[in-house]
Symmetry: C2
Subunit: 173 residues, 2 copies
Amino acid sequence: MGKSDATSVNRKEEIISAAIEVFAEIGYYRATTAQVAQRAKISQPYIFRFFSTKEALLLAALEVSWTRVIDSFHKVMESGLSEQLEPDLIRAYEDILDSYRNETLLQMQAQTIQEDSIREAMRKGFGEVHRIVLDAFQGAGIPNPQERATMFLARGMLCNISSALDMPELMGK
Amino acid sequence: MGKSDATSVNRKEEIISAAIEVFAEIGYYRATTAQVAQRAKISQPYIFRFFSTKEALLLAALEVSWTRVIDSFHKVMESGLSEQLEPDLIRAYEDILDSYRNETLLQMQAQTIQEDSIREAMRKGFGEVHRIVLDAFQGAGIPNPQERATMFLARGMLCNISSALDMPELMGK
DNA sequence: ACTATAAGTAATTGATGAATCACTAACTAG
DNA sequence: CTAGTTAGTGATTCATCAATTACTTATAGT
């Protein structure tokens, strides 16, 4: 299998990557499957061989984006000293925002989508991240872990907005 | 002029109110002007007597939502003691989230819309709220006002998400 | 009554988009 | 070789929607 080999799994991942870009740039509802297909360099109908609906494609894209955050936080916890735990987590999240801005933009969009399946995916993602951070803070013996976990998430959410609107001043200069 | 009198200004406000509801519930791009019209109990084309485009209607709706927050914060600052300033501002924002949830959902949507005019409106709204909070904290002699203002906004943004996804546990139980 | 203007709508238009269908080309196992 | 499977596309379908047009009804001033 050479690098240009197009396995079914590769195609699926390529489509998801294209969808993350296009959905983030154009907006999920406004973006068309034709635009996603063009970005993925395939024909529009071929998307539906891998995803039964546009919404299924969005769900797959969200799954990728949440896995990104969760895996990153797990890595920090495994390898880090518990004294610098919070700054390490902050840095990890900022790195994701730098490198995978589109995934964050997609998550932000999905926060207000009312379809049950999307809401469930978002609840699961947020819930798991919250649980991980809370466990980490408790395990590290940080005082008021509940409140600190909330403020950690809160800072992250403002960070998202500051990035999305290109307003660095919101994060206190 | 009785209460059922339909002045041009009233109609405009009614349309904006209907748009806030429909856009928040359905999503701006997915919502149709026909749905807004139905909610406002007018015909679909009549919307375009007041707003030249769907986007102009969104801008008007965002204007209303930001004015809501800004006016509320101003009122807190005028009438409140500076010792309880921060909790008063928090309560004021929570009241808005309770009473005007749709306006917040609309703002959340607009955070990721890439059209220049929308981004500009969002920057203006966020910028003004940030300025007000920062001025208030500085005026009240709160230490580290910059950082405290950032954390105030951050908490508000997580509060939005917690409300939108119906996840009260995110705010630390 | 009469005319101007405001309030409002039905019908249409032109464009667009998700999803399906019908098909072709390339590879693979026996 | 050939029968079956995988990869892929062009053309079409059916629905939808923002925006326009052309029209009707009501109101107010003279």
